[in-house]
Symmetry: C2
Subunit: 217 residues, 2 copies
DNA sequence: ACGTGTGAACCGATTCACAGCA
DNA sequence: TGCTGTGAATCGGTTCACACGT
Protein backbone atom coordinates (compact mmCIF):
# COMPACT_ATOMS: atom_id res chain seq x y z
CA UNK A 1 0.00 0.00 0.00
CA UNK A 2 1.78 3.05 -1.23
CA UNK A 3 -1.14 5.41 -1.53
CA UNK A 4 -2.44 7.20 1.55
CA UNK A 5 -6.09 6.46 1.88
CA UNK A 6 -8.30 7.96 4.56
CA UNK A 7 -11.58 6.50 3.46
CA UNK A 8 -10.99 2.78 3.66
CA UNK A 9 -8.68 1.92 6.51
CA UNK A 10 -7.15 -1.54 6.42
CA UNK A 11 -8.53 -2.80 9.69
CA UNK A 12 -10.84 -1.29 12.21
CA UNK A 13 -9.32 0.69 15.05
CA UNK A 14 -10.56 1.73 18.43
CA UNK A 15 -11.84 5.20 19.25
CA UNK A 16 -8.82 5.39 21.54
CA UNK A 17 -6.70 5.54 18.42
CA UNK A 18 -8.41 8.80 17.51
CA UNK A 19 -7.92 10.25 20.97
CA UNK A 20 -4.24 9.34 20.76
CA UNK A 21 -3.91 10.98 17.35
CA UNK A 22 -5.07 14.17 18.99
CA UNK A 23 -2.33 13.80 21.60
CA UNK A 24 0.31 13.10 18.95
CA UNK A 25 -0.78 16.20 17.11
CA UNK A 26 -0.45 18.38 20.18
CA UNK A 27 3.00 16.99 20.73
CA UNK A 28 4.01 17.58 17.12
CA UNK A 29 2.89 21.19 17.33
CA UNK A 30 5.07 21.63 20.40
CA UNK A 31 8.05 20.05 18.65
CA UNK A 32 7.52 22.23 15.61
CA UNK A 33 7.51 25.32 17.79
CA UNK A 34 10.81 24.21 19.26
CA UNK A 35 12.21 23.88 15.75
CA UNK A 36 12.39 20.08 15.62
CA UNK A 37 12.15 18.82 12.04
CA UNK A 38 12.37 15.03 12.33
CA UNK A 39 11.12 12.79 15.10
CA UNK A 40 11.09 9.03 15.69
CA UNK A 41 8.21 7.03 17.12
CA UNK A 42 10.40 6.43 20.14
CA UNK A 43 11.00 10.11 20.77
CA UNK A 44 7.46 11.30 20.27
CA UNK A 45 5.96 8.77 22.66
CA UNK A 46 8.62 9.06 25.35
CA UNK A 47 6.58 11.38 27.58
CA UNK A 48 3.10 10.28 26.58
CA UNK A 49 2.63 6.98 28.41
CA UNK A 50 2.17 5.39 25.02
CA UNK A 51 4.46 2.75 23.50
CA UNK A 52 6.21 3.42 20.22
CA UNK A 53 4.67 0.40 18.45
CA UNK A 54 1.30 1.71 19.52
CA UNK A 55 2.09 5.01 17.84
CA UNK A 56 3.21 3.31 14.64
CA UNK A 57 0.19 1.03 14.60
CA UNK A 58 -2.19 3.93 15.18
CA UNK A 59 -0.75 5.70 12.16
CA UNK A 60 -0.73 2.52 10.09
CA UNK A 61 -4.52 2.52 10.02
CA UNK A 62 -4.42 5.66 7.94
CA UNK A 63 -1.35 5.30 5.75
CA UNK A 64 2.43 5.44 5.73
CA UNK A 65 3.80 8.72 6.99
CA UNK A 66 7.39 7.96 8.02
CA UNK A 67 10.70 7.14 6.36
CA UNK A 68 12.21 3.82 7.40
CA UNK A 69 15.53 4.25 9.09
CA UNK A 70 14.80 7.94 9.60
CA UNK A 71 11.56 8.90 11.32
CA UNK A 72 8.72 11.32 10.70
CA UNK A 73 8.79 14.86 9.38
CA UNK A 74 7.24 16.85 12.20
CA UNK A 75 5.41 19.41 10.11
CA UNK A 76 4.19 16.98 7.48
CA UNK A 77 2.91 14.48 10.03
CA UNK A 78 1.09 17.23 11.92
CA UNK A 79 -0.69 18.20 8.75
CA UNK A 80 -1.57 14.61 7.95
CA UNK A 81 -3.07 14.07 11.40
CA UNK A 82 -5.04 17.30 11.08
CA UNK A 83 -6.40 15.95 7.82
CA UNK A 84 -7.28 12.59 9.39
CA UNK A 85 -9.06 14.22 12.32
CA UNK A 86 -10.84 16.59 9.96
CA UNK A 87 -9.57 19.66 11.77
CA UNK A 88 -7.87 21.06 8.70
CA UNK A 89 -11.15 22.81 7.96
CA UNK A 90 -12.81 25.29 10.29
CA UNK A 91 -15.53 24.08 12.64
CA UNK A 92 -18.02 26.47 14.11
CA UNK A 93 -19.22 25.76 17.61
CA UNK A 94 -22.19 26.95 19.62
CA UNK A 95 -21.87 27.36 23.36
CA UNK A 96 -24.91 27.11 25.61
CA UNK A 97 -24.70 28.50 29.12
CA UNK A 98 -22.47 31.44 29.97
CA UNK A 99 -21.95 30.75 33.65
CA UNK A 100 -18.52 30.39 35.16
CA UNK A 101 -17.49 27.43 33.04
CA UNK A 102 -19.02 28.73 29.82
CA UNK A 103 -17.26 32.07 30.23
CA UNK A 104 -13.98 30.27 30.86
CA UNK A 105 -14.39 28.20 27.71
CA UNK A 106 -15.04 31.34 25.68
CA UNK A 107 -11.59 32.51 26.68
CA UNK A 108 -9.93 29.10 26.50
CA UNK A 109 -6.99 29.40 24.09
CA UNK A 110 -6.90 25.67 23.36
CA UNK A 111 -9.91 25.96 21.10
CA UNK A 112 -9.62 29.32 19.44
CA UNK A 113 -5.97 28.97 18.51
CA UNK A 114 -6.79 26.45 15.84
CA UNK A 115 -9.75 25.65 13.68
CA UNK A 116 -12.32 25.22 16.41
CA UNK A 117 -14.15 28.45 16.99
CA UNK A 118 -17.02 29.28 19.29
CA UNK A 119 -19.07 31.53 17.05
CA UNK A 120 -22.43 31.73 18.80
CA UNK A 121 -23.40 31.73 22.44
CA UNK A 122 -26.76 31.15 24.10
CA UNK A 123 -28.17 31.61 27.57
CA UNK A 124 -31.62 31.71 29.12
CA UNK A 125 -30.83 34.47 31.61
CA UNK A 126 -32.51 37.70 30.53
CA UNK A 127 -29.80 39.59 32.36
CA UNK A 128 -27.17 38.12 30.05
CA UNK A 129 -28.98 38.05 26.72
CA UNK A 130 -27.72 40.69 24.27
CA UNK A 131 -24.70 41.41 26.44
CA UNK A 132 -21.37 40.90 24.70
CA UNK A 133 -18.83 38.50 26.19
CA UNK A 134 -15.36 37.83 24.75
CA UNK A 135 -16.54 39.65 21.63
CA UNK A 136 -19.65 37.53 21.09
CA UNK A 137 -23.20 38.69 21.69
CA UNK A 138 -25.15 36.33 23.90
CA UNK A 139 -28.37 35.17 22.27
CA UNK A 140 -31.62 33.93 23.73
CA UNK A 141 -31.60 30.13 23.94
CA UNK A 142 -34.94 30.14 22.17
CA UNK A 143 -33.20 31.38 19.03
CA UNK A 144 -31.06 28.25 18.87
CA UNK A 145 -33.16 26.55 16.21
CA UNK A 146 -33.00 29.33 13.63
CA UNK A 147 -29.43 30.38 14.42
CA UNK A 148 -27.92 26.91 14.17
CA UNK A 149 -29.58 26.13 10.85
CA UNK A 150 -28.84 29.56 9.43
CA UNK A 151 -25.16 29.31 10.32
CA UNK A 152 -25.00 25.57 9.69
CA UNK A 153 -23.48 24.79 13.08
CA UNK A 154 -23.28 21.12 14.02
CA UNK A 155 -21.30 21.22 17.26
CA UNK A 156 -22.77 22.37 20.56
CA UNK A 157 -21.04 22.71 23.90
CA UNK A 158 -23.37 22.34 26.84
CA UNK A 159 -22.31 24.27 29.95
CA UNK A 160 -25.60 24.50 31.80
CA UNK A 161 -26.66 22.97 35.09
CA UNK A 162 -27.23 19.20 35.15
CA UNK A 163 -30.97 19.80 35.59
CA UNK A 164 -31.21 21.69 32.31
CA UNK A 165 -28.66 19.78 30.24
CA UNK A 166 -31.02 17.21 28.73
CA UNK A 167 -33.51 19.88 27.71
CA UNK A 168 -30.74 21.86 26.03
CA UNK A 169 -29.47 18.73 24.30
CA UNK A 170 -32.97 18.06 22.96
CA UNK A 171 -33.26 21.61 21.65
CA UNK A 172 -29.83 21.43 20.05
CA UNK A 173 -30.63 18.16 18.33
CA UNK A 174 -33.92 19.54 17.09
CA UNK A 175 -31.85 22.38 15.67
CA UNK A 176 -29.80 19.75 13.76
CA UNK A 177 -26.76 19.63 16.01
CA UNK A 178 -24.84 16.42 15.39
CA UNK A 179 -22.14 16.59 18.04
CA UNK A 180 -22.37 17.56 21.69
CA UNK A 181 -19.52 18.32 24.04
CA UNK A 182 -21.20 17.96 27.40
CA UNK A 183 -19.74 19.60 30.48
CA UNK A 184 -22.76 18.98 32.67
CA UNK A 185 -22.42 16.03 35.06
CA UNK A 186 -25.28 13.99 33.63
CA UNK A 187 -25.65 11.25 31.04
CA UNK A 188 -27.45 12.62 28.02
CA UNK A 189 -29.93 10.56 26.06
CA UNK A 190 -29.48 11.20 22.33
CA UNK A 191 -30.32 9.49 19.03
CA UNK A 192 -27.71 7.18 17.55
CA UNK A 193 -26.67 9.64 14.85
CA UNK A 194 -25.62 12.25 17.39
CA UNK A 195 -22.14 12.05 18.92
CA UNK A 196 -21.62 12.96 22.54
CA UNK A 197 -18.37 13.48 24.38
CA UNK A 198 -18.47 14.11 28.09
CA UNK A 199 -15.98 16.24 29.93
CA UNK A 200 -16.62 14.86 33.34
CA UNK A 201 -14.52 16.43 36.03
CA UNK A 202 -16.13 14.86 39.05
CA UNK A 203 -15.82 11.43 37.45
CA UNK A 204 -12.11 12.02 36.84
CA UNK A 205 -11.67 13.32 40.35
CA UNK A 206 -13.43 10.38 41.94
CA UNK A 207 -11.38 7.92 39.92
CA UNK A 208 -8.28 9.72 41.12
CA UNK A 209 -9.47 9.57 44.71
CA UNK A 210 -10.09 5.84 44.42
CA UNK A 211 -6.48 5.14 43.48
CA UNK A 212 -5.14 7.62 45.97
CA UNK A 213 -7.22 6.13 48.74
CA UNK A 214 -6.33 2.57 47.78
CA UNK A 215 -2.62 3.38 47.85
CA UNK A 216 -2.94 4.25 51.54
CA UNK A 217 -3.29 8.02 52.02
CA UNK B 1 -18.75 -15.22 49.14
CA UNK B 2 -21.20 -13.68 51.54
CA UNK B 3 -18.98 -11.15 53.18
CA UNK B 4 -18.35 -7.83 51.45
CA UNK B 5 -14.64 -7.35 51.12
CA UNK B 6 -13.03 -4.27 49.64
CA UNK B 7 -9.43 -5.15 50.23
CA UNK B 8 -9.00 -8.35 48.29
CA UNK B 9 -11.08 -8.31 45.15
CA UNK B 10 -11.63 -11.67 43.50
CA UNK B 11 -10.12 -10.84 40.13
CA UNK B 12 -8.47 -7.75 38.81
CA UNK B 13 -10.64 -5.18 37.13
CA UNK B 14 -9.93 -2.39 34.73
CA UNK B 15 -9.71 1.28 35.71
CA UNK B 16 -12.78 1.70 33.54
CA UNK B 17 -14.67 -0.20 36.22
CA UNK B 18 -13.85 2.58 38.67
CA UNK B 19 -14.93 5.29 36.25
CA UNK B 20 -18.21 3.44 35.74
CA UNK B 21 -18.75 3.14 39.49
CA UNK B 22 -18.62 6.92 39.60
CA UNK B 23 -21.31 7.07 36.93
CA UNK B 24 -23.48 4.54 38.74
CA UNK B 25 -23.16 6.59 41.89
CA UNK B 26 -24.26 9.78 40.17
CA UNK B 27 -27.23 7.93 38.77
CA UNK B 28 -28.14 6.47 42.13
CA UNK B 29 -28.05 9.92 43.71
CA UNK B 30 -30.45 11.14 41.06
CA UNK B 31 -32.77 8.19 41.63
CA UNK B 32 -32.68 8.76 45.37
CA UNK B 33 -33.63 12.38 44.89
CA UNK B 34 -36.60 11.25 42.81
CA UNK B 35 -37.66 8.96 45.63
CA UNK B 36 -36.80 5.66 43.98
CA UNK B 37 -36.01 2.98 46.56
CA UNK B 38 -35.21 -0.13 44.53
CA UNK B 39 -33.57 -0.39 41.13
CA UNK B 40 -32.58 -3.30 38.89
CA UNK B 41 -29.33 -3.53 36.91
CA UNK B 42 -31.45 -3.21 33.79
CA UNK B 43 -33.04 0.03 34.91
CA UNK B 44 -29.93 1.74 36.18
CA UNK B 45 -27.95 1.12 33.01
CA UNK B 46 -30.74 1.92 30.58
CA UNK B 47 -29.56 5.46 29.87
CA UNK B 48 -25.87 5.00 30.48
CA UNK B 49 -24.65 3.18 27.37
CA UNK B 50 -23.56 0.38 29.64
CA UNK B 51 -24.96 -3.16 29.59
CA UNK B 52 -26.61 -4.59 32.65
CA UNK B 53 -24.21 -7.57 32.93
CA UNK B 54 -21.38 -5.05 32.84
CA UNK B 55 -22.94 -3.28 35.81
CA UNK B 56 -23.37 -6.51 37.75
CA UNK B 57 -19.84 -7.64 36.95
CA UNK B 58 -18.38 -4.30 37.97
CA UNK B 59 -20.05 -4.60 41.35
CA UNK B 60 -19.10 -8.25 41.70
CA UNK B 61 -15.44 -7.27 42.04
CA UNK B 62 -16.27 -5.62 45.34
CA UNK B 63 -19.00 -7.75 46.87
CA UNK B 64 -22.67 -8.65 46.63
CA UNK B 65 -24.96 -5.68 46.93
CA UNK B 66 -28.25 -6.80 45.40
CA UNK B 67 -31.13 -9.11 46.22
CA UNK B 68 -31.76 -11.83 43.64
CA UNK B 69 -35.15 -11.55 42.07
CA UNK B 70 -35.48 -8.00 43.40
CA UNK B 71 -32.71 -5.57 42.60
CA UNK B 72 -30.61 -3.06 44.53
CA UNK B 73 -31.54 -0.70 47.33
CA UNK B 74 -30.76 2.71 45.90
CA UNK B 75 -29.58 4.36 49.07
CA UNK B 76 -27.59 1.41 50.35
CA UNK B 77 -25.83 0.85 47.04
CA UNK B 78 -24.93 4.53 46.79
CA UNK B 79 -23.30 4.34 50.20
CA UNK B 80 -21.44 1.18 49.27
CA UNK B 81 -20.04 2.75 46.10
CA UNK B 82 -19.01 5.84 48.03
CA UNK B 83 -17.15 3.54 50.39
CA UNK B 84 -15.49 1.69 47.50
CA UNK B 85 -14.39 4.90 45.82
CA UNK B 86 -13.18 6.27 49.11
CA UNK B 87 -15.34 9.38 48.88
CA UNK B 88 -17.15 8.67 52.11
CA UNK B 89 -14.44 10.67 53.82
CA UNK B 90 -13.66 14.28 53.04
CA UNK B 91 -10.85 15.10 50.62
CA UNK B 92 -9.20 18.48 50.61
CA UNK B 93 -8.07 19.83 47.29
CA UNK B 94 -5.67 22.58 46.29
CA UNK B 95 -6.32 24.60 43.16
CA UNK B 96 -3.49 26.25 41.29
CA UNK B 97 -4.29 29.01 38.82
CA UNK B 98 -7.26 31.29 39.29
CA UNK B 99 -7.83 32.30 35.69
CA UNK B 100 -11.13 31.77 33.94
CA UNK B 101 -11.17 28.03 34.34
CA UNK B 102 -9.86 28.02 37.90
CA UNK B 103 -12.48 30.54 38.97
CA UNK B 104 -15.17 28.45 37.35
CA UNK B 105 -14.01 25.33 39.18
CA UNK B 106 -14.12 27.20 42.47
CA UNK B 107 -17.81 27.72 41.89
CA UNK B 108 -18.47 24.31 40.32
CA UNK B 109 -21.20 22.64 42.37
CA UNK B 110 -20.24 19.14 41.23
CA UNK B 111 -17.29 19.12 43.62
CA UNK B 112 -18.37 21.09 46.64
CA UNK B 113 -21.73 19.38 47.01
CA UNK B 114 -20.08 16.24 48.26
CA UNK B 115 -16.88 15.36 50.02
CA UNK B 116 -14.46 16.95 47.59
CA UNK B 117 -13.63 20.44 48.72
CA UNK B 118 -11.24 23.00 47.31
CA UNK B 119 -9.74 24.40 50.48
CA UNK B 120 -6.68 26.28 49.28
CA UNK B 121 -5.98 28.25 46.13
CA UNK B 122 -2.70 29.44 44.64
CA UNK B 123 -1.70 31.83 41.91
CA UNK B 124 1.49 33.56 40.83
CA UNK B 125 -0.17 36.84 39.87
CA UNK B 126 0.64 39.52 42.44
CA UNK B 127 -2.62 41.24 41.54
CA UNK B 128 -4.59 38.20 42.68
CA UNK B 129 -2.60 37.06 45.71
CA UNK B 130 -4.36 37.79 49.01
CA UNK B 131 -7.60 38.60 47.20
CA UNK B 132 -10.55 36.48 48.27
CA UNK B 133 -12.44 34.46 45.65
CA UNK B 134 -15.50 32.32 46.36
CA UNK B 135 -14.67 32.71 50.02
CA UNK B 136 -11.07 31.51 49.76
CA UNK B 137 -8.01 33.71 50.03
CA UNK B 138 -5.64 33.27 47.11
CA UNK B 139 -2.12 32.40 48.24
CA UNK B 140 1.23 32.90 46.61
CA UNK B 141 2.24 29.80 44.63
CA UNK B 142 5.57 29.86 46.46
CA UNK B 143 3.74 28.97 49.66
CA UNK B 144 2.55 25.68 48.20
CA UNK B 145 5.20 23.57 49.91
CA UNK B 146 4.45 24.66 53.47
CA UNK B 147 0.69 24.96 53.02
CA UNK B 148 0.20 21.52 51.49
CA UNK B 149 2.20 19.75 54.16
CA UNK B 150 0.66 21.76 56.97
CA UNK B 151 -2.86 21.01 55.80
CA UNK B 152 -1.97 17.52 54.59
CA UNK B 153 -3.43 18.04 51.13
CA UNK B 154 -2.69 15.35 48.58
CA UNK B 155 -4.84 16.41 45.61
CA UNK B 156 -3.94 19.32 43.36
CA UNK B 157 -5.91 20.73 40.44
CA UNK B 158 -3.75 22.42 37.85
CA UNK B 159 -5.50 25.20 35.95
CA UNK B 160 -2.53 27.14 34.64
CA UNK B 161 -1.30 27.69 31.11
CA UNK B 162 0.26 24.71 29.32
CA UNK B 163 3.66 26.41 29.49
CA UNK B 164 3.60 26.52 33.28
CA UNK B 165 1.81 23.26 34.02
CA UNK B 166 4.87 21.02 34.32
CA UNK B 167 6.59 23.45 36.65
CA UNK B 168 3.51 23.59 38.86
CA UNK B 169 3.24 19.81 38.83
CA UNK B 170 6.87 19.55 39.94
CA UNK B 171 6.27 22.00 42.77
CA UNK B 172 3.12 20.19 43.86
CA UNK B 173 4.88 16.84 43.89
CA UNK B 174 7.76 18.29 45.87
CA UNK B 175 5.10 19.47 48.31
CA UNK B 176 3.96 15.82 48.63
CA UNK B 177 0.92 15.95 46.37
CA UNK B 178 -0.02 12.44 45.28
CA UNK B 179 -2.83 13.09 42.81
CA UNK B 180 -3.09 15.69 40.08
CA UNK B 181 -6.18 16.67 38.16
CA UNK B 182 -4.69 18.40 35.15
CA UNK B 183 -6.75 20.83 33.09
CA UNK B 184 -3.82 22.15 31.07
CA UNK B 185 -3.52 20.70 27.57
CA UNK B 186 -0.12 19.09 28.07
CA UNK B 187 1.12 15.66 29.10
CA UNK B 188 2.69 15.87 32.52
CA UNK B 189 5.77 13.88 33.47
CA UNK B 190 5.40 12.56 37.02
CA UNK B 191 6.88 9.79 39.21
CA UNK B 192 5.09 6.45 39.24
CA UNK B 193 3.61 6.97 42.70
CA UNK B 194 1.72 10.09 41.60
CA UNK B 195 -1.66 9.70 39.93
CA UNK B 196 -2.64 12.02 37.11
CA UNK B 197 -6.03 12.44 35.50
CA UNK B 198 -6.33 14.74 32.53
CA UNK B 199 -9.42 16.73 31.74
CA UNK B 200 -8.67 17.37 28.13
CA UNK B 201 -11.30 19.40 26.36
CA UNK B 202 -9.54 19.91 23.06
CA UNK B 203 -8.81 16.22 22.85
CA UNK B 204 -12.47 15.41 23.42
CA UNK B 205 -13.52 18.02 20.92
CA UNK B 206 -11.16 16.76 18.24
CA UNK B 207 -12.32 13.20 18.74
CA UNK B 208 -15.87 14.44 18.34
CA UNK B 209 -14.95 16.30 15.17
CA UNK B 210 -13.34 13.18 13.72
CA UNK B 211 -16.54 11.18 14.00
CA UNK B 212 -18.68 14.07 12.87
CA UNK B 213 -16.47 14.66 9.86
CA UNK B 214 -16.32 10.96 8.99
CA UNK B 215 -20.09 10.66 9.09
CA UNK B 216 -20.29 13.20 6.27
CA UNK B 217 -21.01 16.69 7.63
C1' DA C 1 22.42 -0.03 10.17
C1' DC C 2 18.31 2.01 11.54
C1' DG C 3 13.51 3.05 12.31
C1' DT C 4 9.08 2.17 10.10
C1' DG C 5 5.09 -0.82 9.03
C1' DT C 6 2.40 -4.89 10.22
C1' DG C 7 0.70 -9.81 10.78
C1' DA C 8 0.39 -12.87 14.49
C1' DA C 9 0.35 -13.78 19.28
C1' DC C 10 -1.05 -12.25 23.45
C1' DC C 11 -3.67 -10.32 26.95
C1' DG C 12 -7.37 -8.24 29.14
C1' DA C 13 -12.01 -6.53 29.14
C1' DT C 14 -16.72 -7.43 27.89
C1' DT C 15 -20.39 -10.49 26.97
C1' DC C 16 -23.16 -14.33 27.72
C1' DA C 17 -25.65 -18.02 29.56
C1' DC C 18 -26.97 -19.96 33.39
C1' DA C 19 -26.51 -21.29 38.27
C1' DG C 20 -28.03 -19.49 42.63
C1' DC C 21 -31.06 -17.48 45.71
C1' DA C 22 -35.00 -14.55 47.42
C1' DT D 1 -40.71 -16.42 38.89
C1' DG D 2 -37.30 -12.77 38.58
C1' DC D 3 -33.02 -10.70 38.95
C1' DT D 4 -28.50 -11.17 40.79
C1' DG D 5 -23.75 -13.10 40.65
C1' DT D 6 -20.16 -15.26 37.92
C1' DG D 7 -17.21 -18.69 35.28
C1' DA D 8 -16.39 -19.52 30.53
C1' DA D 9 -16.33 -17.96 25.95
C1' DT D 10 -15.74 -14.29 23.07
C1' DC D 11 -14.10 -10.24 21.27
C1' DG D 12 -11.07 -6.52 20.48
C1' DG D 13 -7.08 -3.85 21.50
C1' DT D 14 -2.16 -3.92 22.47
C1' DT D 15 2.26 -5.89 22.12
C1' DC D 16 5.91 -7.99 19.79
C1' DA D 17 9.11 -9.60 16.53
C1' DC D 18 10.61 -9.07 12.36
C1' DA D 19 10.25 -8.04 7.37
C1' DC D 20 10.83 -4.01 4.68
C1' DG D 21 12.75 -0.03 2.72
C1' DT D 22 16.09 3.70 2.76
Amino acid sequence: MKKTNYTKSKKSFSPETIRRLSLYLRNLRGLKQRGVKIVSSEEITRFLNISSPQFRKDLSYFGEFGKRGVGYEVDKLAQEIEKILGINKEWKIALVGVGGLGSALLKFPGFSKFNEKITVVFDNDAGKINKVKSGIKIQDINEIQQTLSKKNIKIVMICVSPENAQEIADKAIKANARAILNFAPVSLKVPKNVYVANVDMSCELETLIYFLNKSGI
